[in-house]
């Protein structure tokens, strides 16, 4: 087992993520000003390693992660591969009839504990009295899950641009998260339809 001292534990990660989200636009501009390193890399090898990761369970090799961090050319290839895979997955979902959009909800149909399904996708909303927070969970049917390459992440967004959930699915095709906005999900659902995309 190769040591990976750059990996964070869960708490460290969540704290740092919050800070990272706030400054993500700045981070993007700062990375965009990186100068390509003098030492070139074999982009054939790089593409194969990223492809193995996106299509299977292989972790990204440390050397690939290092290149994504330090080489703008490597980052650009990585970004493009992810975007292409996401496009292919979307087309496959459409062909197989899995839902990518959810209709706007009528106000009187909304409840504190809610569940709505469309072909291959179920979204649940649950208000926890104990934590006074909304929880959201996404569950894909086995067919919909199997139509997604393992390396892709899923995002649920509403028509107003708010991201409800995003991240990697667990091995059962599920993804959970908690609500972070001051507005309630019910209010958002009255005004906006939900959609799913991949990244």
């Amino acid at each position: 087992m190769v040591s990976q001292p750059w990996k964070l534990d869960q708490i460290e990660r969540e704290q740092a993520m919050t800070s990272s989200r706030k400054s993500s636009n700045l981070l993007a501009h700062v990375l965009d000003r990186q100068i390509e390193p003098e030492q070139e890399f074999d982009d054939l090898w790089f593409v194969d390693a990223v492809s193995d990761h996106l299509h299977g369970d292989a972790a990204l090799p440390d050397e690939v992660v290092r290149l994504i961090w330090t080489s703008p050319s490597a980052r650009s290839l990585y970004q493009r591969m992810r975007a292409e895979l996401a496009r292919e997955a979307t087309q496959k979902w459409r062909r197989h009839g899995h839902a990518l959009e959810f209709e706007r909800r009528a106000a009187d149909s909304l409840q504190d504990s809610d569940r709505f399904s469309a072909s291959g996708v179920t979204i649940r909303l649950l208000y926890s009295q104990a934590t006074e927070r909304w929880m959201i969970s996404l569950q894909l049917s086995r067919e919909a899950y199997e139509d997604l390459p393992p390396g892709l992440n899923v995002r649920v967004t509403d028509g107003g641009g708010m991201v409800w959930l995003e991240g990697a699915l667990d091995r059962h095709g599920g993804l959970d998260g908690s609500w972070t906005s001051d507005e309630s999900p019910q209010d958002r659902l009255r005004d906006h339809p939900l959609s799913i995309d991949f990244f």
Binding site: S20, L26, R33, I35, Q39, D42, L44, R66, W69, E84
Partner: protein, 290 residues
Amino acid sequence: MEWRRTRELMRARIVALGGEIFADIADHGTVTDAAWTGFIERVAKQLMQRPGPASDCALSLLGDSRPLRQALEASGARLMGEDAPAIRVVAVRRGLTRMRNAAIGGSEHRAKTWGRLDQISRSVAGPDATNRCTIAHFRLLAEHLREHHASDRNLPRTIITIEEYFAEFCADCGPSALDSDAEVERPFLPVEADLPELARSGRFLEECLSQLEDEPGSFVRVHFKMTDPVEFSTSGYCQRQNIDRRRFYRVLEDALSALSTCLTTKAEGLFEHLTGFQSGSEQWSRNPGN
């Protein structure tokens, strides 16, 4: 990749030294010949301070800087607008790529190479291929070229160079970015869920920000809406604080470059354990395919 390195060395200096030029173009739509010549001389002087193959290539390109000037003039007032840092980088990159293309014989030479590449690409893709503008196809093509055209130095050999040809010439790839003056893409950010260590960058960025002096640090926070309460516009802030916007953007650009160096150093530190380990890319750099 060599071109990208050269381009970015030039981009960094041009954006850092171009404050007055950007402001003049934003105000008047153009600059005087004398101002432009003086600017290019300052860029050349800076490049000469760091000799090497990339600087030599950059200096030779500066012989005809008209495409760069045209690309900046096409961006006009946006060079001083709210998105100035992003607009400047995009306009300079576009101008530099046009300079490079003009210097290596213009589109005629590249079109000739593209003609051959296109033919090989079609034979590799097969008759049923509907879209050749994919990394999977570029990868196959790069492998084919390394195996079957190893001695032909005119043909590209890396996926990145092949991608540049397709972006410029192949209809499958949509309109060429070189032909469009309108778009400003948000710079790329790796996926957090995929690279959990990205989270650490938030902390690294904070550490690097705290190393900046007060003024550049606060300009960065203002521009990237990291203040509490948030500043709605850079121009409003400059007006209220009586700060010249030319100076604001000059200080901001210097700060972003400093942050980029600081963050890269910290990121490299994360991967120090790879030193001494012969990676795929290191093996290749000793015996490159191109």
